[in-house]
Symmetry: D2
């Protein structure tokens, strides 16, 4: 069976001067195979991923794997512990507003320089090994700078250092009030059907600071540049990385966590990480969009809002999304106003509070969506 | 029909030096009758009361009243507008932590002094008039102090000044994640059946700073002291004041608001405020407790929590209330632990976040509860 | 020399489920003598007390003591670590606004019950021992309640349990932007001259939740009740407790910390805690008031404020305390307005931000102050 | 004399549904001349700029100008009014962490498209007029999007729309605890000596979201592309834009504000905005760096910090910048540790709180700085 080890990694220190740790759970299979890295709760209020990891560990205790699975739940010991009122202020560093999922490392120059060192004869395995080494070295250099680096980057880079070892990287998030959705790099489209997630966003090779991007942008750019430099050989992107959004923040649900762990196992099975498991994806409809068609509807005015469309619901252009109460006009026709869907859409998430200012992300939704083909299912 | 007027009252000024206003809606009946004062959202995230007031205004536009109804929605322009993350930090002054519903005025000495001025011959109506005048004068003195007063008190006193004019005072709140419940002073027990609220807390004559108390403690104490001083006459408490908790914070729901507006109208009908309305309370079970039996269960440890009991649910001692995930022990038997009900109880509300520290108010619930008798219903 | 031990006490657990510890430093003298308890930073942004404790420890390493000195720096691991913007949100629980220094235990009934158990023959030492035992038992009962208790109380009670063992209790705070001042219970007036603190507030036997009160109210009330019950014996209050405010929050200063440590050592010397030290108080003017004359000036309006009087400054009625800029009137005579001192006063502290709402504590100051007589000095 | 007008511009609406306004003060000279736009406090805690604008208005009431000066103090009505504890949480949107000074508009494509429409014959004045029109149109399009835009951008774009009309744009900020410094685009180097600001940062043509960049990047890029397209003509950048940091946040000081207003007037005089004023810059040393040499020193560990170097101080590599107290080691040699200057530097600002986590911006400073030549002075 799998070998299990657990350690605690010190990733930060707080105002008391105390070290802050993340737990690292590691399962090693008897057979060789892909390396998998899974983390959760880098946004401190998005706690459901921890439950998913709990259920994954339950699986991994009894399911022989190939290769290795590393799991880092509750990977942000700072963001998890900032309360403001009854909620967790977990999305950004309370000191400076930096998003906890925007400080990962990516430098295109590094890849250019790396490509320059390669010769036609080198095997892809050698190239991958050297590239991993090179990127991890660069991360290490960032972490060791004389002048230091900011907290979000510091935390992110230590996680990325672990993650960059892997062939498969899964970052577990949730939305605000949300239905399940997943970010999939366009080159890994085929993998989208293996998770049990009905809403899929295909994203381009563009770095915006998140973990999944910090992994796949490196490998995707490498593959592109290899294809340019050595066009006679065929190059693929050897690593996949995803962000999974499993429902709503501020909530945990064990049943739901088991469902999502099952979906991740189905994907790992598809990727040949499991020795002989019979775990297949669920037979559900999956709708996808390209990133440009994942739209945000911002409020034009502030006020108090009733959300009339549930995440996951399909609605038509002109349908009422929300009803706004205007407290200064309760006696007249302006008491209630409406916000309409600008297009046919699937609502994916909405803001978690009834009180909004102008410029608030009221809803996010899919427009111009399409259905994905099915794969063999459970 | 009723006469309607609207004004905006300046109750505070902000760091920009701008005045902050609350809307005051006023309906005056053609016939004399009780004065009613209703406010909402003194806790900024408890926005549902605004919807209830919207529906009350809809009623009052078409329902002839006796006396007067004054409605002040969104009565805390400061607390309504403090965001911290996506939620509203509406429960306390963000500067100093002072609860926005604990700065109202009550002084027993004032009542003692007032009683000393009375003679046996005075009519209760005269006494009430003089008492109102006296308390409002005292509030005014507080508001005019040379050295000033703190923001929460300042805001509260301006509202109390309006409210103290009334015979019936209703303060609209919500819980965190909660089922409907209502605070009823013990002397007004009979009124509890007229609202459409299934959970009732009977509270004693004890001032803790809230609006309802700041009204009824004055009148209740006055009645008690009158009974002592002039035992040969019979004295009742001439004013009723309630805090209604209509579901959960951070949410508005128009249907639910109509239901609660209907309940308030049924109560007002019972109190003879409506000329000829046929609005009766709903036929629902109503459970009550005395304040001591409204219990808070605090967490013993921090962690991530699944809430297994919904507000409104009746459970038995020993039933699982919540399931706790321990991220440092996901591989072993301590991964999941349970929090059990210490007694048979009705869950009334729970904490709105899955992330808790030790000492967090996890659940509040009724123990030793009893069913209230029914009244003629719809 | 003194025996030194250090331990870490677990006082809370956070949302990660991790234990949170406070360090407890303990010096035991070779000779018997008073027990001293000193803590700092229960308000998380008031960090200077930690520096004072550092310097006290430097002293205690080389200064033989009688009895015992227990030091608990950084005694609030929650409050110390809540950042909101660049500052520390350290004054109250960010979940519910509860002041971290208002959850200590005091129950007059306990003292009444205790007094009932005493007989005339018992020695004061026996009584003290029994009383300590009784109060600590009550604290323990609070901490062990089936339904639990709130975080601030939980934290406070664990500290009070340690502190109640002591004969001398010192709680190290700071003001916002402040000069040194100290709270002294009226019965311990004579001790006020031994600290090097120029501003003294004499406080009555009234419990408002703070640590010093939670100690001295118990002993003071006990002494009062003993005097009533056994008037033929002479009773004094055997324990002293103080809150020291050593300058401003959000700042540490090592030199200033040494100065204050020196003052505390001078007091301890006076109280016979040091074997043969030659540490005397400084020759400074000390001004005192009774609590009622320690006044807060609240703003009447919001705006932006220049503070024109430094903490420690003596000013006259009518002097300008602050200048307010009104951004909507920069072109006219209302551009600048003034806030005047309502009385002759010594400014003790002011609000730490230029931006104020109405109802903000702008200044606190002494009125009707008087000079304390001198004691033999350094 | 100058013509004065004042209006209030609605730039946002809050959760109460109320409009939020900024005051716009406008002085129009009798003679034609440059248009000047000055705003302050886009970061809500950086209030000193409002005082500077107050003093500028005092000047402009009596000093005849050429052209126009528009002044928008307190330009962020949201950020100014978010309190969290006693401080103002003014640097970023509390909902999502977005920096209030990073949502301005710049699109290089727009400039490319614009350049394509130009012919060799057009006068620069015509080009400028057309370009202004084009950029303002683009800003308007952003503001009118069907799906809306986020609050920070929304607020920023409305200000930029006003600012883009101007030839001179000045954005008034402060640092945390800071000495005066100014950001100057490299092409406008000569202007640096006219403000009374001793520390100058020369910045390249790189857009990072701030107001000054959103102005000068447009014009600078336009000038560069014009030089490329029409190399035979000589092109300069016709507009200057600066960010001035006038000391520390959370503080206002009228004298200091007058000093800075005087410096701005000296610059405006140099730019020919004043009819016949005799206002010259002060005779002070001015030190400058290129942006890369404006360094941030991040903490390696959390703890409590004494700042040993004042903003403005010149220190040597290896000098002590800060002293750190480690509360868990007060009894041993690790009690105090030191943070040293990695290079010779001028300290420009430091973090405003003694409590830091790892990864905190402890100090910012100039390395490789050089002295600017003098200009004729007062």
């Amino acid at each position: 069976m799998n070998t299990f080890t657990k350690e605690h990694l010190s990733v930060a220190s707080n105002a008391s001067g105390r070290k802050m740790h993340v737990p690292v759970y590691r399962f090693q299979g008897e057979e060789p195979g892909p390396k998998v890295y899974i983390q959760s709760s880098v946004h401190g209020a998005e706690v459901q991923g921890n439950v998913v990891i709990y259920h994954l560990i339950e699986y991994l205790k009894v399911t022989p794997i190939r290769g290795e699975v590393v799991l880092v739940p509750n990977c942000n010991p700072v963001g998890t512990n900032i309360k403001s009122g009854e909620y967790t202020l977990g999305r950004f560093d309370p000191v400076n507003g930096e998003n906890w999922n925007r400080g990962y490392f990516f430098k295109e120059e590094l890849i250019n320089d790396f490509i320059d060192t390669l010769t036609e004869e080198q095997s892809f395995d050698d190239i991958k090994l050297a590239f991993r080494h090179r990127v991890k070295e660069a991360i290490d250099t960032e972490l060791s700078k004389t002048w230091g680096i900011g907290l979000a980057s510091r935390l992110n880079l230590q996680l990325q250092y672990l993650a960059f070892e892997a062939d498969i990287v899964i970052d577990l998030h949730t939305g605000s009030v949300a239905t399940r959705h997943i970010y999939v790099p366009e080159y890994a489209k085929d993998s989208a059907q293996y998770f049990n997630i009905p809403h899929v966003i295909f994203i381009p090779n563009q770095f915006d600071g998140a973990l999944d991007e910090s992994v796949f942008c490196h490998w995707w750019t490498l593959a592109d540049k290899l294809s340019q430099k050595f066009p006679q050989r065929k190059w693929s992107v050897p690593v996949e990385a995803f962000t999974l959004e499993m429902g709503s923040q501020e909530v945990i649900d064990f049943d739901s966590g088991q469902y999502d762990a099952n979906g991740i196992m189905a994907y790992l099975n598809y990727k040949n990480c499991l020795v002989s498991a019979d775990i297949k994806p669920k037979d559900i409809a999956r709708y996808a969009v390209y990133l440009n068609d994942y739209k945000t509807l911002y409020t034009q005015d502030g006020g108090i809002v009733e959300y009339n469309v549930k995440p996951g619901q399909h609605i038509k252009e002109g349908d009422v999304l929300a009803k706004v109460l205007n407290v200064d006009d309760l006696d007249n026709d302006n008491a209630v106003s409406y916000i309409y869907a600008p297009k046919d859409l699937i609502a994916i998430l909405h803001f978690p509070s009834a009180s909004v200012l102008c410029g608030t992300q009221l809803y996010k939704g899919f427009i111009n969506y399409f259905k994905l083909p099915s794969v063999p299912v459970e």
